[in-house]
């Protein structure tokens, strides 16, 4: 990412950012709209082992002292239940102990935003696109969302984060794209996600909507995007309540669903 290591760290808007919702353990330091330094680790699915060490190493490498941190930025999911708890717990604890504000962002938005930012440097990228982050939620379902972006800096959420069956979600996106007004119609729709997940799903996704191509691009979450998205919220004065902050699981646990089912049965 486009970090600059020259400026002084003081006096700006500096975030320590992290995300563990997917297969990558991502940490970053962002400052005043750019990524100062970041790391991505794919080696260990058990992010709980390395998360704090990675943060410490990143801070040491960047020479970032805790007094220089203005806020903690974290991806709150959705994603792996165990995964999202790791970053959220670390972020809550650090924010509490250091008495720093906490700003949570959607991990799906971070994935989409990071991908779009990377592509805008590429000449073949369309001027306007829809970005559809997808993360495996098993049983044919995905954690997903929809964002509209263009090269003039537009970045807007078009659908809420949720868990959806992939096939039905593709169908509804085709319909949405085909029926969109001229001003809203994207030049392409990009599905972004982990390469191992997209493998084998490209066929299902590839049928575009008329002249609008549907593309798949492998992309792993970068915490730089978490920090940059959080910085926008932070500048608007948005803060999360450290104690009350929890991951966005998007759904109840199986036990709760079963209990509700059982109660409805009895009510009948």
């Amino acid at each position: 990412m486009n970090g600059t290591n020259s400026g002084k760290m003081e006096g700006g808007c500096t975030a320590l950012a992290l995300d563990t919702s997917s297969a990558v353990l991502a940490t970053a330091i962002t400052r005043n709209g750019s990524v100062w330094d970041s790391s991505q680790s794919f080696t260990e699915r058990n992010h709980s082992v390395r998360v704090v060490s990675d943060l410490r190493e990143l801070m040491a490498r960047a020479g970032l002292r805790r007094e220089q941190i203005d806020f903690i930025a974290v991806g709150r999911g959705p994603g792996s239940y165990t995964g999202v708890r790791i970053a959220v717990t670390a972020a809550k604890t650090l924010a509490w102990a250091w008495q720093k504000p906490l700003v949570g962002v959607s991990s799906l938005e971070a994935m989409a935003f990071g991908a779009w930012h990377q592509w805008t440097g590429r000449p073949d990228t369309e001027r306007s696109a829809w970005i559809v982050p997808v993360m495996d939620a098993r049983r044919g379902q995905v954690y997903t969302s929809l964002f509209a972006a263009n090269r003039d800096g537009k970045w807007a959420r078009a659908e809420a984060d949720g868990i959806r069956p992939l096939a039905a979600w593709c169908d509804s996106l085709r319909e949405l794209a085909a029926n969109a007004d001229d001003s809203e119609r994207p030049q392409a729709v990009y599905f972004v996600g982990e390469s191992s997940f997209l493998e084998g799903k490209r066929e299902a996704i590839a049928a575009g909507a008329g002249t609008i191509p549907f593309r798949t691009e492998a992309f792993a979450i970068e915490a730089g995007a978490v920090g940059l998205l959080a910085e926008r919220k932070f500048r608007r004065g948005e803060r999360d309540d450290i104690h009350g902050f929890v991951p966005n699981y998007t759904q109840l646990t199986e036990a709760e669903v079963n209990l509700m089912k059982a109660r409805t049965e009895i009510a009948k």
Partner: protein, 342 residues
């Protein structure tokens, strides 16, 4: 005079979120326990995913409360201790990540701690332990006889081969349609019972300190089935008495036999089931008879809590045996391996 030191401990191995601040290894300044029992009662037992979610919800709240109650500031904390295992992996992870984050934030050492060592060293918070000592650990997840030849050195001489005592209590309580958690209800019913349905005792091989409770549990279920088939009412109190008598007979007999064989100077009773009145009374009587000092922590230190984790972590604090920030939650952590190294 040396400066006092403070350990902050975090315990999230099952369904209690707990944080404690302990001064000089034995003085409990705070021990905040947030129980999720009301949540899990609806499901008739602990649901691991829900337990993990609850831990994330409460962890900083409990941290703040424990530090405030202790009357210290974060700058006074000299080390962070955390239950590394055994326990539910998702639940342990929350505590471990919080502890590691706090260790980084405060730039103090981290001490990964064994949950059962915590139960045993809860006794250290109420008295001096004299070695060799024998610990009888009875809880929802554990039933063990642990020999402590010297401070911080653990040798398991007997363990359950199937259900833990507390687990057997819960299963029997469920079969008798008693509310969750069932242990206290069985204990109360057994005390109130006017009669007893005699149930088998699982002594296992001679000279063996292991336990088995699944046969006893099956005997209870068989008796309930028999009554149901015949259309007779279930004699819950008599069954509770029979069950509890069988458990207590076996557990206390094995503990007393091991205490004699190893020539221990103290018997330590610990774990959540140490709250069981029947068990406490019998063991007190037997120990008095054998002139063996019995240590039992107060109830608040028997059930899962973080002060006991600080008490065990103190063993390692005093020896400078610290963990790294790469510390991993270990759902199967071995107690013997966790022994102090010198």
């Amino acid at each position: 005079m040396t400066r006092p030191y403070h350990l902050l401990a975090i315990e999230t191995s099952c369904d209690e979120t707990s944080v404690a601040v302990v001064r000089n290894g034995g003085e409990v300044l705070s021990n905040v326990v947030s129980s999720q029992i009301d949540t899990h009662r609806r499901f008739g037992g602990v649901v691991p995913e829900i337990a993990s979610r609850k831990h994330v919800e409460s962890v900083t709240v409990i941290l703040e409360e424990a530090v405030a109650k202790a009357g210290v500031s974060l700058g006074d904390i000299d080390a962070v201790a955390v239950t590394q295992g055994p326990g539910l992996v998702g639940a342990l992870l929350v505590g471990v990540v919080a502890a590691k984050s706090l260790s980084l934030a405060l730039d103090v050492p981290l001490i990964g701690t064994h949950h059962i060592a915590g139960h045993i060293y809860a006794n250290r918070l109420v008295g001096e332990i004299e070695y060799p000592a024998l610990a009888l650990v009875v809880s929802g997840g554990h039933t063990e006889l642990v020999l402590l030849a010297s401070e911080g050195r653990f040798q398991i001489i007997g363990r359950t081969r199937d259900d833990a005592v507390g687990e057997a209590y819960d299963k029997v309580a469920r079969a008798l349609s008693l509310p969750y958690p069932g242990g206290p209800h069985i204990d109360r019913l057994a005390q109130e019972a006017r009669e007893e349905i005699e149930l088998p005792r699982a002594w296992l091989e001679p000279d063996c300190y292991d336990f088995s409770f699944s046969g006893l549990k099956s005997a209870v279920l068989a008796e309930i089935n028999r009554a149901n088939m015949k259309g007779e009412p279930i004699r819950a109190a008599a069954l509770a008495r029979g069950f509890q008598e069988s458990v207590i007979d076996v557990v206390t007999a094995k503990a007393m036999k091991a205490a004699a064989e190893y020539g221990v100077r103290q018997l330590l009773l610990c774990g959540g089931v140490a709250a069981n009145r029947g068990l406490r009374e019998r063991l007190s009587a037997l120990c008095a008879e054998a002139a063996l000092p019995l240590l039992v922590p107060p109830l608040s230190l028997c059930t899962d809590n973080a002060a006991m984790i600080a008490a065990a972590a103190d063993l390692k604090w005093r020896r400078g045996e610290f963990g790294t920030l790469d510390l991993k939650a270990e759902p199967q952590l071995s107690l013997e391996d966790w022994s102090v190294s010198h």
